[in-house]
């Protein structure tokens, strides 16, 4: 492989990382909202949220992507395929992250909130100062896990024509007739990215560890 081609692969890996990172962040924001709706006592909020979570976790991502990619023009939305791809990835990860967050919020010991109640923190202050920070710390490992899953799942957006790592490997493999080489390099790059994410995650966890009871 010439340095020029390897450079192309690296560029594509960058695209994979960028698209995944954007999707994870948007997914976290949507996940927060869905989680809030899911635990709401109002039926017409919690039921749609539960359906959302169940649907996006129950349908293969590839089918979701094909659906969103082909559905948007039906609403008169002619967006670049990368936008449709990010929308698909974000919605999918939002469903998983909503469940992770729900687990995190439910694992905050009740006594910690009673203690906050006793010193007069309002429900909103309890959420902002005690509940949310602890829940986020509890969900950090799941968030890292989800980031790795999305990095891998982002390979599927090659199907709707977004040029990222997998699509680049596909293109180069086809034009050079060297699929073994390019798919191996792509696999290696995914591995390196995931190791870096996992390493960063455990570093963050170690930094938070000293305060973990």
């Amino acid at each position: 492989m010439t340095p020029r081609l390897f450079e192309l692969m690296l560029w594509a890996a960058g695209a994979t990382v960028l698209i995944s990172a954007v999707s994870i962040l948007i997914g976290l924001a949507i996940g927060f909202l869905v989680c809030a709706a899911r635990v709401s006592r109002t039926r017409w909020l919690s039921t749609p949220a539960a359906v959302f979570v169940s649907f996006f976790r129950g349908v293969p991502l590839l089918v979701q992507l094909l659906l969103i990619y082909n559905l948007l023009p039906g609403f008169g939305l002619y967006v670049p395929s990368v936008v449709a791809a990010i929308a698909g990835l974000s919605l999918c990860t939002a469903a998983y992250q909503a469940e992770n967050l729900r687990g995190g919020f439910m694992s905050v010991p009740k006594g910690l909130l009673e203690a906050a109640d006793m010193v007069g923190l309002s429900p909103w202050q309890q959420m902002r100062r005690i509940r949310a920070p602890i829940a986020l710390r509890l969900t950090l490992p799941a968030l890292i896990n989800e980031a790795i899953l999305i990095l891998k799942a982002s390979s599927l957006i090659s199907v709707v024509g977004v040029v990222e790592l997998t699509r680049m490997a596909q293109n180069l493999a086809a034009s050079t007739y060297r699929p073994l080489l390019f798919y191996s390099v792509a696999g290696g790059l995914y591995l390196v990215i995931n190791w870096l994410v996992a390493g960063g995650g455990s570093l963050a966890e170690r930094m938070l560890k000293k305060e973990r009871a």
């Binding site: 010991p109 006594g111 910690l112 009673e114 203690a115 906050a116 109640d117 006793m118 010193v119 007069g120 923190l121 202050q125 100062r129 005690i130 920070p133 602890i134 710390r137 000293k210 305060e211 973990r212 009871a213």
Partner: protein, 269 residues
């Protein structure tokens, strides 16, 4: 710690308080008077309702009937002459609860904040004190429980006894008039209970009004000025320790002391 408002009246009056969880009634019409500046110990077998009573006084549980007066002011509900209960507006509930501090069995320190952070949290977010002033006050409270050199430690870096002392400092920071303790030494290793009991003893000598749910009969007998023995959701015995523990002992108390505590503790008092 100084006595305010009505220095002569009782700190807390519990009148006919009942509490039911579904079909289970755990408190049956409790009457109790807690005098200002003294320590009242609630003892009794597990399931006797002593912790539930304490949690009702803290308003962590809402009593299903009866009233609780804190410093003469009704807590949570008022009861009309016809027995109908009206819920008081939230600001009034907050104002009455602000007089009460609570120390839990499981410490319940917030794990993401340092010892000082735990003590200062309410001073900053509820009282809105500037950081510097809050920290000065927080340090003063930590000094009182002998932990000023642990201010920067996180709860997980502290022993159980130290955590509970931080929790006491946290409760003291808002200068409550009454401190409630829910089995404060029950989740501690035996060798760590002493340091917590010593802090509580010092508070009692300072004239703090305290209500302590405890299994430490020795502590109850020596520090408590008033003992209430609960059994099956009722106050069975109520009076000064000499009277409650002195002969002739009530057969249920005798049985409790023998069944729930080792014989050594029973003969100690």
């Amino acid at each position: 710690m100084t006595e305010v408002s009505t220095p002569t009246g009782p700190a807390i009056v519990v009148k006919g308080v009942s509490k039911r969880f579904g079909d289970l009634e755990v408190l049956h019409g409790i009457d109790l008077r807690i005098d200002r500046g003294t320590t009242t110990c609630l003892i009794g077998p597990s399931g006797s309702g002593k912790s539930t009573l304490l949690r009702c006084i803290a308003f962590l549980e809402e009593a299903t009937a009866g009233t609780i007066l804190v410093d003469g002011a009704p807590l949570g509900f008022t009861e009309g002459p016809d027995g109908a209960r009206t819920r008081l507006p939230a600001p009034s509930i907050r104002a009455v609860r602000a007089k009460i501090g609570m120390v839990f069995q499981q410490f319940n320190l917030w794990p993401h904040m340092t010892a000082l952070g735990n003590v200062c949290e309410a001073l900053r977010t509820v009282r809105r004190l500037p950081r510097k002033e809050a920290e000065e006050r927080g340090m003063a409270q930590l000094r009182k429980v002998g932990l000023e050199n642990r201010a920067g430690h996180y709860p997980s870096q502290l022993s159980g006894g130290q955590q509970q002392r931080v929790a006491i400092a946290r409760a003291l920071a808002l200068e409550p008039e009454i401190l409630l303790f829910d089995e404060p030494t029950s989740s501690l290793d035996p060798e760590l209970t002493g340091e917590v009991l010593n802090v509580m003893r010092a508070l009692a000598e300072d004239g703090m009004s305290m209500v302590v749910v405890t299994h430490e009969i020795g502590f109850a007998a020596t520090v408590g000025r008033h003992i209430a023995f609960l059994d099956h959701g009722r106050v069975l015995l109520d009076g000064p320790p000499e009277e409650v523990f002195g002969a002739p002992r009530h057969p249920r108390l005798e049985q409790f002391l023998e069944t729930y505590l080792d014989r050594g503790a029973a003969t100690l008092v």
